[in-house]
Symmetry: C2
Subunit: 447 residues, 2 copies
Amino acid sequence: MRVMLPEIKELLSTRQKRMVRKVVSYFEPADIAEAWSEFSHDERLKLFNILDAKFAADIFEFLREDQMIELLTDLPTAKMISVLNEMSPDDRTDLFAALPTEEVEKIIPLLDADEQKRARELLAYKGNTAGGLMTIDYITIPENANIADAFRELRTRGRDIDFVQNIYVVDKVNRLQGIIPLKDLLTATPRKKVQRVMDSHFPNVGLEMDQEDVARIFEKYDVASLPVLDKIGRMKGVITVDDVIDVIKEEASEDIYRFGASEVTEQYLSANPISIAQKRVIWLIVLAFAGFISGTVLEHYSYLLANIVTLSFFIPILMNTSGSAGTQAATVVVRGLATGEIKLRDIWRVVRKEFFIGILMGIVAGAITAMRAVIMQGDAALGLTVAIAMIVAIVIATSIGGMLPIVFKKLGVDPALMSGPLIATILDTTTLLIYFNVTILLLYRFG
Amino acid sequence: MRVMLPEIKELLSTRQKRMVRKVVSYFEPADIAEAWSEFSHDERLKLFNILDAKFAADIFEFLREDQMIELLTDLPTAKMISVLNEMSPDDRTDLFAALPTEEVEKIIPLLDADEQKRARELLAYKGNTAGGLMTIDYITIPENANIADAFRELRTRGRDIDFVQNIYVVDKVNRLQGIIPLKDLLTATPRKKVQRVMDSHFPNVGLEMDQEDVARIFEKYDVASLPVLDKIGRMKGVITVDDVIDVIKEEASEDIYRFGASEVTEQYLSANPISIAQKRVIWLIVLAFAGFISGTVLEHYSYLLANIVTLSFFIPILMNTSGSAGTQAATVVVRGLATGEIKLRDIWRVVRKEFFIGILMGIVAGAITAMRAVIMQGDAALGLTVAIAMIVAIVIATSIGGMLPIVFKKLGVDPALMSGPLIATILDTTTLLIYFNVTILLLYRFG
């Protein structure tokens, strides 16, 4: 797309409408949408005015929300409505959800009667449920029909639907009885009853199911689409896998952000730094107050530091290494909980495992640190103290790091909120306590 | 599935083969695979021996790798081969990739002639490329055929293929000319040439394209499947979106693990703790050596700590807060680079933004810490020193945290390797340097 941009821009400026339509039709809607920011405001409006409503709607669906809203505001009303009429109902609902309610209430009455009904129906569902993800463009056929009837229905209705993979067989009150993949429809004889061809065991999702659970069902059954049923089994919509990909990505982003003690920012580059700072600083304040506790521990044991100044040299490395070991354990457990590999009942298995991992890693890290104390400070007693403190601190770190995300989940809190920085902060205090107490036991008493 | 387990187990023990087949057929293969670990080794073998090869293969594809290998090893050779013949070629290739080469070379000659050819073809591609993801089960039709021919081909070949969404139109040397969605095939008149119905602009992927790029193309075009072409445009295979979901999930997991300074562990719960510890400890050693630098900084300025013991109380909170602020910035940038929102050329935009965010957050965190100094130590000069050090440290932290992942990516290194713990460790040194130098400038000179 980008290579042709100068030509398209020139054609737009000389108002060669037929040529613009022709050239643009060579590209995928997604490609044109990707190059959208390279067009000026005027060029965007001109382009939309020239293109037919169907192609314009195809491009529109791939635009970012702010780009959609710009067009909605500045296009002539008639054009805007024709594009909205052509949009797939589920994408249109997502757009409506981003607009103020008054705005939506002004737009809906201008749509075609059919589309008005669909828009209102979909707006009734929450965005993060199966109802909010599904499309209501799908083909049903009564259970007493035959294959030829199904073909006829497909020929009539198929044109308006972007993605047809299955035909849904329903009873008189619209309860889903079975599914016929298009492929099976094609290979069946026309006189056969649909009931004899349909697959009557099919995975499905409930209308109010959370979108993350919907994603998990898609992953489990490896399917390209799933029917959405209400509580008594009536067909309400279809979710296709491309909508689920967005859910899976959003979910992963959310976990990553939370785990990094940041909050989700949809558009980082275009967001206001003040609003980003506001979101992040809350975390930082929580961590700062947690950090005061380690300051208080230091204060309490300051007589040790005053007597043996070399002790303080090892504070950063001890805090660091235990914080990192705790973060490592928490990372694995947070992800394991997210993918479903680790269940709540596995808590003691995880703690036992992390305890053992902690011992192994503690011995290695302790030996390295002890060597530094011996080489740089020439103090074997200090080396032994630091090594023992390191081993204990890392064992505690991996055990706590593995346990806390599961405890959070048990309490109904998102385990990813038990972030790396939070775990590191908690472990600072335990590490200092361990260090000073090991010092008192070994170095201060016998040193 | 789980509710019926006792009944199925009983039927298996009393060898009521017909009943087992009937009861099991009520469940989805994915459900049976999910309950696999509830069956004993003997029951698994019995069940596979009773089921017909097609249904057994459907279940087999949903099993974990270790469960597949268990069956491969212990099933009678004839049964095993019939299951492998029925498997979809791409899933079979993934399984072969997990087996020793000698093993695979023993198995392949036992397969049906057709399947042998397919297996060898697919094994030639690398697992993490488009070639490794694709299936070679798809339907092509010559460009001079008409719609009726396409139907005929579909009826003949469609039965053996799980997921048919499109028919691919190719020229004499198998170069892809266009795509016909099944839906369009159904609504076209039989005499029409396929060339007049096909869509000749279609997104596609190259045979050697990296799987992460393949995933990005799926996301961009919102499609359910994509054709795979070789360098001169010949049709080689088809990738369906369900295989891409696994790639997206793997990719997110990899980022999360790396960012938490852990390495990817496929099966955490069943993995040996020693091998987990080995993977993690390498990171910990790197971080420990980096931590020595901050120890050396402390040593260098120890005369300050010896004179003003209260200074040390604020070391944990300064290190902590700046480490957390740096992790926050890095988290957002690592994820932004992964989703493609942030590009390499945005580096200075990111740094400017993070600099400003750092000032805002620094003022808040600095004020809180100063208050602590004034209230607990009753020392306003110390409060001022700590506050200024905090502001400078956080500004440096957010700027470096935002910059380093982009620098890593520029150098061709995975930005997620610039993990939270690594950034925190780097920032420990800068924070201590800032703290001691601010102290010398303000407190020590004028205090």
